[in-house]
Structure formats: C-alpha cells, structure tokens
Amino acid sequence: MKPAPFAYARPADWPAALALLGSGARPVAGGQSIGPMLNLRMAQPGLVADLRHLPEFGGIAVQGGTCRIGAGTTHAAIEDGAVPGRLGAILAGVARRIAYRPVRNRGTIGGSLAHADPAADWVAVLPAFPGHAVALGPAGERRIPLAGFVTGIFETALRPEEVLRAIELPLLPPETRWGHWKFCRKPGEFSKATACLLAIPGQAPRAVLAALDGPPLPIPDATALLAAPEAEADRLLATLPGLEPWRAALARTALRRAAGMAAAGMPTA
C-alpha cells in the first residue's frame, strides 16, 4: 500500500500556491484525508502542493462580529479552544469527535471541508452556520455561503484555480442553542448519519442533515424541526427516497435528537 509516484512542492507564498494549482497540482493541507487515499492509490496526483507553510494559513482572527478561521487551523487547535466564545465552544465539541487526536493534530478544518467527504464532520456541520468559505483565486478572494459550499460527493463550489483560504463565521451570543448528533459505532469512525441544529437568537434556526453518502442537506429554516422534531424528521426523510431502511432510521433519529438537544438548550457536546 504505497502511493504511486508524485512530485512535491512547498509554495512559500499564496501567488506561488495559486500558480501550482494552475498547473494542476493537488493542494494538500494536513493530508489526513488524502494520505490514506494516496497509500491506497485511490488518488494519484502527479504533483502535490503542500499548503502548510503558507503565511497565515492557520490562525484565528476576530474582526467585528466575525471570526476568520484560517483554512490550515487544525482540528486539535479548535478542540483546544482556539476559537473564542460560544462559537468556539460549539466548534470545540465538534472537533473533539473528529477521528482521533493524532489525526486532529495534523488535519485541518479547511482541508477537510475542501475534501468534501460526505461523512466528514465539518462538511456535515458548517452548512448550518451563516458564514462563508473564503476562496482565494487569481482574482483575489471570494466568499461562498457555507450552506452551498459542498455541492456533491468530494465536490465543492471551489473553482479549479482556487484554494480555500479561510472560513468566516459569526461570533455567537451565549444564548445560542446548538444540537449535534452523529451516529458512529466507534469513536472516530465515519458517521453514518449526522444532524445539527443551530438556533441563534433572533434568527430562524438552521439545520443540516448529512453523512448519507451524498452532499449535506442544509435546512435553512428549521423552525418546524425545532418545534415538532418527530413530524418534521419524518417529512424530511420522505424527501430522501432510496436510503437503506437502517440509514433512514438513523437519519430520522439524528434529526430528532439534534433538534431535541437544541430545544433543551444543551451545551455543545
């Protein structure tokens, strides 16, 4: 299980990184998703561009009410509280349950989101947030709403010449309610059904159903789910034919439980 040969480049600045992407290089951050695929020869890029050493690739910046999380911020940093306030607590709870700590020490939020594995945690959770993915391309930065960033299995709204630069999320008031439930038989296992619900005071609650072997399903107005989880979960599932019965049952449970946790005002985990 050794990778097919590939060349390696370590761009020193963003223009160099974009130039490499323009020449067809595969961008890699922490490498924790692509690493196994390389070893299994499921991915065979000719050239890998290592983004880890780019300036401000990681790091958290707060400006106004917005928290900008560098795409290269590791899951472990988020788990350990790098993001402030209520938002940080919510994200830390998500991060702690991604794979295993040695993976979280290398894996990044941006890398995971851009990789767009349907079962991945950030892919399943971030579409619930009224924030943006910041794409950097030759023409500069562009903001893509998180609810529309992941478009398919391993597919995103990024253009081939763009790289995910950061994720911008609004800081959240302390009374923000959050529910997040995923089904893993073992800690660190890929989820078989994930749902989350984010209720920011003064805004319509937002939810996501994910990890169903397709792109995440954002629910931009989850008022009904929060009010009547049972009925609304059933209604939503009826719109998803073709799921195996047990996956459908898990998805229904995920929606109900995430909504229930948010309704109960439970803390992040």
């Binding site: 040969p5 299994l40 020869r41 089904f183 296992e189 195996e244 047990w246 049952a249 898990l250």
Partner: protein, 779 residues
C-alpha cells in the same frame, strides 16, 4: 497460596520477561529485518472472483522482475488433504494457473528494491482474463447448475459429514420444539502485524533461511520442503517476534513459497510484507457458517434431541496444514456442547466458493457452534416459559459424571459446569435489571455456557489425517557453562508470554530464579520439532514438556551434585536451585554443577551421564483426548431501539481453566479473546457482493473493537485441576472468543423479546437489530 509461597513458580502472576524489549520498541518483527541486496515483492492479484486467466502482460521494460506461474518451474502446488472419507483436496497454485478462483489470488510476483517500486510494477502489468460466473454464497454453491470452482469436481463441496439418528418420534413426545436458521459472518482475523516473510539462500550452508511471521515454524518447514522439493535440512524456518496470530499465521502461504523460490533462483534475499489491504481483501478469512438447528425438549427443559444442518463457507482452497475440513467436521464433533444430549443428528458441508479460503480462527468452529446451540436453547426456554438458566441447569453435565464421555465420544476431563453457571447468576443484580426494564429501558441479560477442548492429542488428530498430527511435545533443557538454564521449545510465542510461563515451570521443577532461565523458541534450527502454537495447547503440551525436560536435567544435575557433596544420590535433593544434603548439610548450586560439567570436568564423578547437562524430554498427557476448560459468560446490555445500537454494560466470565500457570497471563488471554468475541458478536463482517468482491478494504470499514467498545469485565476463576495434565492446567487460549456472540445475542434477544423481535445473524449490527424490530412490527 500467598504470593510469597508461590514465589515465581506455577500460579504466580509473574510479570512478563518479554515486556522490556517491546516497551522500548526493540521487538524484532519480520518487517524490521533487512538483508543486503534485498528485493521487496508486491503481488499482482486477481481483481475478480472467478475467471479464466488468459495471460499476463508483464510491466514493460521490467519483464525480468515479474514472475508468473510459468516462470516457477519445479514448484509444486500446495495440497492440504484430509483422510476423512469423501474429502476432495484442492491444488492451490502458488501463483494462479489457468483459473482465478478468488479476489486477491496471487498471479505474479513483482520484485523491486522498494515495495513502492514493486507496486508500480504490479500496476503496470496487464491482465487478460475471461470472467466466469461466480459462486459467491455457500448456500447456493451446491444448487443444480451452479458454476464449479474446481471444474473436475462434481460439485462445490470439499467434504460432507453425516451423523444420522432417527429423531422422528421427538415431535410427538416433546413439550417444545424450535427451529432456527442462523448465520455467522465471514471475518478477518486482523493481527496487528500482517504476515511477512524474508527468504535468503545461504550458499555456505546450502540452506534456505526463511524468516517468517508464523505460529508453526516446524510445520512450515515441512510444507516448504514438499512444495519446493528440498530436504527439510536445507530449510531453516525462523519466526522472530510475531505480532499476533490467532490462527492467521497457522498456514503455509503461497507468498512464502514464492519468496523462497525467488530467493534461491535469484541468489538475493526476497521479502514480502503483507499490508492491511491484502489482509482484508485478498488473504484468508474465517468463521462463515450457516446453521439450521432444530431442538426438542421436555416440559422441564431436558433436551430430547438436536438436529443440525451446518454449512461452512470454506472458500476456494484447502489451506495447509489445517485443510478445508477442520471447521465443518468440528461442528459435528462439538455441537452437543457441555450438555448431556441424548440424541443428535448432524449434517455438515464444507462449501467451496469463489472467496478467499478460510483458516481456523481463535475458537475455530466452537464460536459458531456455541452461538447456534446457545441461541437455540434460549429460544426453547422462551417457548417453554422457563429461564435460560433453568434450561441449562437441566442439561449441563453434572460434576459427579466426570470424566464424562458424551454421545459423540468427546471426553470431558473435570469440572463443575453447573457451578460455573450458578456463580455467574449469583454475581448478577437481577433485581436491578428487572427494575430498569420496568422503568422502560430496553435491557437484556444473556448467558452462554460452553467448554473448550484444548491440547488435542494424537488420538484426536490422527483421524483427521491432515498434513500433521501432534504427538509427543518435546522441549530441550540445558545449562550454559555459567549455570543459566536454556529452554528450547518448538512452539512459538506471539503474545502468549511463554518466555515467562515456561521459565515459571522450570523454576517450579528446578528452583532456580526465573531471571536465570532463557526460553528459546520459534526457530527450527534451535528447537525440537513441534506442531506449533495452535488449539490452546502450549500451556498443557509445552508446560508438560518443559517440566519433563527439566526433571530429566535435574536428575543429571543431582548425580553430579551428589558426587561434589560426596554423598550418595539418595542422600541429596534438588531444591531452591541447588543440590542439598537431605540432612541439612552442605549444598552445591546448579551454577556450580554447570561449571563443573563444562569447565572443571576433572571434578566429575566416574560413570557420569555423558549426555551432560542438556536433555530433551517429551510429553503427552494420558489420555491425550485433550483438556476441557469451560466457562459461563453473562452479559447485561441495553439497546437503543431507535438506532439499533447495543451497549454492553456488564460482562462477567466464570472461567475454569484448571490450574493457572500465570493468572495474569491467563486473564490477558481471556480478555483478549473476549474483545475478539465482541467483534464477532457486534462489529466484524467482511461482506462480499454477488460478484465475490470483498467490500471492506480498510479498518474504517472492517471494524474491530477499540478501547471504547469494551465493557467492564469481571473474571471469576474456578480452578478444577485436569486429572491428566502435568500441573492440572488446561488450555484456555480461545475461550474468551467463544462465548461472546452467544451470550450477547441471547441478551439482545432477551431485550427484544417484549417487541417480539429476534436477531439471528452475526454480527448483531445496528442494521440487523433495526431490521429485526421492523420485521416484528410488520408481523
């Protein structure tokens, strides 16, 4: 006995002598060993389950480094026959010829200085094949018109066994009758280290040195000699540190043969290291059984008879040395379990399919049999309205009947089976379970009682007629000139802690400190022949052999010691590592006796045994029908009925392994087996699609239990000595892996009983639990 009284001998939970090197990262596994000029092998493997192989186009420009069957002149096929009547032996080519019979079958060996480059070569080869219809399921394998895995066979069966008995009257006299159709999943054994082999030809010794990750170095040597056409003396097999086996390394693999051949042919060391993808998707599996069981009982729960129709999916080939028959034939011989079953009818089939062949995995057929019998017993109990404990107590072999010969001729050596069950029941808080259930929780309690035959002897195995039959186990004991005791055994220790337990046995006999005992194992050049480490035999057979060799060595030392003490042999004794005058006078240490033999021979007595301080002793229990350890597993669990998730809350094991050589190590064996049994029960499954493609290629798809999946475990030891073994010890290395599927599914079905739902197939995954609930709702 108090720890002080036990000291370092039998019964002491002595810390392991082997730990230090592993803790420092200084274990030495095959993958750690490199040889100058070594080439690495990657195998081009079959991408399909069944096809006619038309040709291999070798990687362009590297034709000389790619070897197919056509290049392997003089190499035979691997044949693992059995003497059981009607057994059909397969010819397993070491590289595919003519046909491809399972996904992952090796087709070509690609050699390069690095594994990565070797994989590049494999990727650059082009296969030409014509796909054939696939035999993907054991139950349809024998349907009329099914494609044939081996075309010259009349059907897809290695072996059928039949034990007939007229059960027709039972319907009219039984108070209850149940029939269950049950299936256990195909599994992979997943030792953390895969297989691996490094083959080198030593031109000076004219010897092939095969360093391989095996449980059976001597058996592998015999197998290699047969397939390669070499004298056994031209082959030395060395098992270095081996990173787990569980049966997976009890095999002569095609890859070993190919590496050996190429090393001789090229005059360069050749190494193959199995990776996880190969382990999961290409190499031997285990455990896939299907049962149709009918059982009859009277109103008190007494079993009147059992009728079993069992099929084992043996895969495409009969593997060396255990053959394709062991598992299914064992079903027939052990299905009666620990019970006094009066009537028994049993038909078994080893079905041949287009899947990787199977190997006996920890517990072998016992795990499936225990699952089938124990879940059927619970179904009977439910029908009769009696408790699972009651039906078992009505049928367990009573202690006063020991030793007990059951209706298929198994002889149970000793023990109090009902007592194991009673001790388990007494340790469970049944009121709390009832209260939680009354409060609406989905709680279940389940039991399994079983026995484990270990240390199978000649009388058991000669009838199988497979490539080896275990006989007298031997060990060599010798003093080095500094008085250190060296124990040499042909067994192989890959986690069992034999470097410690055999030192304890030596201490027990000779009295010298375990720090002064070295155990040498896993090398055909250094150790007496042994069939190796399998079938829970090492503690009984190896322990007995080491004790016997030490006893003989002690006699030699005693004679020299008596002379040095100027005493009659009868006036001295061996104790505490020295020969002492019985009258409490002078003593001479074993160290000094060793020094005398080797370095001060002038002080030796006339007529001294010229064999010196090196002796090989042999051991076989009499009778050698094997020890029977037994256990009761009792589990409490809860089920999330919305997700189908099963959470184990409490796991109790009452175990009787006879006298325990090292209780700490025994607990380790029980707990390790338990984790694997929990995997069988709840997690592990290698699914295949209709085209015979394995669907779980990584450990993210093939789930083995981790730290978070293991419940609190309580172990309660009974220690009924075996009347037939050297110290009263019994084999119990597999026990932990046998009971869990039965106990856990019984607990699941107990929890699901209020819903009218029942799980029948393993593993009891969330999907299966939810399906059972759904089916009950639909009824």
């Amino acid at each position: 006995m108090s720890p002080e009284a036990i000291g370092e001998g039998v019964g002491a939970s002595l810390r392991r002598k082997e730990d230090a090197r592993f803790l420092l990262g200084r274990g030495r596994y095959v993958g750690d060993i490199r040889a100058a000029g070594m080439l690495e092998v990657a195998f081009l493997r079959s991408p399909v389950a069944h096809a006619r192989l038309l040709g291999v186009q070798k990687a362009e420009g590297a034709e000389s480094r790619v070897f197919t069957a056509a290049d392997l002149a003089g190499v035979g096929t691997i044949r693992a026959p059995s003497a059981l009547p009607g057994f059909r032996v397969s010819e397993q080519p070491v590289l595919a010829t003519g046909k491809l019979r399972h996904v992952g079958e090796p087709i070509a060996a690609c050699l390069a200085p690095s594994r990565a480059a070797a994989e590049d070569l494999a990727a650059a080869c082009i296969l030409d094949y014509e796909a054939l219809p696939v035999v993907a399921d054991m139950l349809t394998a024998r349907a009329p018109g099914a494609p044939l895995v081996h075309e010259h066979w009349p059907d897809n069966a290695f072996l059928e066994t039949f034990r007939d008995e007229d059960l027709s009257e039972l319907d009219s006299i039984a108070a209850a009758k149940v029939t269950r159709r049950l299936r256990t999943a195909r599994q992979c054994m997943v030792p953390m280290e895969g297989r691996g082999v490094l083959a080198e030809w030593d031109p000076r010794l004219e010897q092939l040195i095969v360093t391989t990750s095996t449980q059976q170095p001597h058996v592998i040597r015999t197998g290699l000699s047969e397939v390669l056409g070499l004298d056994e003396g031209q082959i030395r097999v060395v098992a270095p540190d081996v990173g787990g086996g569980f049966g997976y390394k009890g095999i002569l693999s095609p890859e070993e043969v190919v590496c050996c051949h190429l090393a001789m042919r090229l005059g360069r060391p050749v190494r193959w290291i199995e990776d996880r993808l190969e382990h999961l998707s290409a190499n031997a599996n285990c455990r896939e059984h299907h049962y149709t069981v009918t059982a009859w009982a009277d109103a008190g729960g007494r079993l009147l008879g059992v009728d079993v129709d069992a099929t084992v999916d043996s895969g495409a080939y009969s593997l060396y040395p255990f053959s394709a028959c062991l598992e299914s034939a064992q079903v027939g011989s052990i299905f009666p379990g620990p019970y006094t079953l009066p009537r028994f009818r049993c038909r078994t089939v080893s079905a041949c399919t287009n899947k990787p062949p199977i190997l006996p995995y920890r517990g072998v057929a016992r795990t499936g049999v225990c699952y089938a019998l124990e879940t059927t017993l619970d179904a009977l109990a439910r029908q009769l309205g009696i408790t699972p404990a009651a039906i078992r107590l009505a049928n367990l072999v009573p202690p006063e009947a020991m030793p007990y010969r059951n209706l298929v001729g198994k002889v149970f050596d000793s023990g109090d089976y009902p007592q194991a069950l009673r001790r388990a029941l007494a340790a469970i808080d049944h009121d709390r379970i009832a209260a939680r259930r009354a409060a609406g929780e989905c709680i279940g309690f389940g039991l399994a009682v079983f026995c484990e035959q270990g240390a199978h002897g000649t009388s058991v195995y000669h009838g199988w007629g497979i490539p080896f039959v275990p006989g007298y186990e031997q060990a060599t004991a010798r003093f080095t000139p500094d008085g250190v005791l060296e124990i040499r055994t042909g067994l192989q220790s890959h986690g069992q802690g034999m470097e410690t337990t055999f030192a304890q046995v030596a201490h027990e006999v000779l009295g010298l400190p375990t720090a002064r005992v070295r155990v040498v194992h896993g090398d055909t050049a250094l150790t007496p022949y042994s069939t190796g480490t399998w079938g829970s035999r090492a503690a009984v057979m190896g322990g007995g052999a080491v004790a016997e060799a030490c006893r003989l060595l002690g006699e030699r030392a005693l004679a020299i010691g008596a002379s040095l003490l100027q005493a009659e042999p009868g006036a001295v004794e061996l104790s505490g590592g020295a020969v002492r005058r019985r009258d409490g006078g002078a003593a001479v240490t074993l160290e000094e006796i060793a020094r005398t033999w080797y370095r001060r021979p002038q002080n030796l007595p006339r007529g001294v045994d010229t064999g010196g301080l090196e002796v090989t002793g042999g051991y076989r229990p009499d009778p050698d029908t094997g020890t029977h350890s037994y256990a009761c597993h009792a589990v409490t669990l809860r089920i999330d009925t919305e997700t189908g998730e099963v959470v184990l809350e409490d796991y109790l094991i009452v175990e009787d392994g006879g006298v325990l050589l090292n209780p700490m190590i025994v607990d380790g064996q029980v707990l390790g087996g338990l984790a694997q049994g929990i995997g069988t029960a709840l997690y592990e499954e290698m699914p295949f699609d209709e085209a015979g493609q394995p669907l779980a290629g990584t450990l993210a798809d093939y789930l083995i239990p981790g730290t978070a999946e293991l419940p609190e475990v309580r172990i309660d030891h009974m220690e009924t000595p075996s009347p037939w073994t050297r110290f009263g010890q019994k084999g119990l290395g597999e026990s932990g892996a046998i009971g869990p599927p039965a106990a856990i599914v019984n607990a699941i079905n107990d929890a699901l009983a209020p819903f009218g739902a029942e799980v029948l197939d393993l593993p009891a995954s969330p999907a299966r639990v939810l399906a059972a609930l759904e089916a009950a709702r639909a009824r």
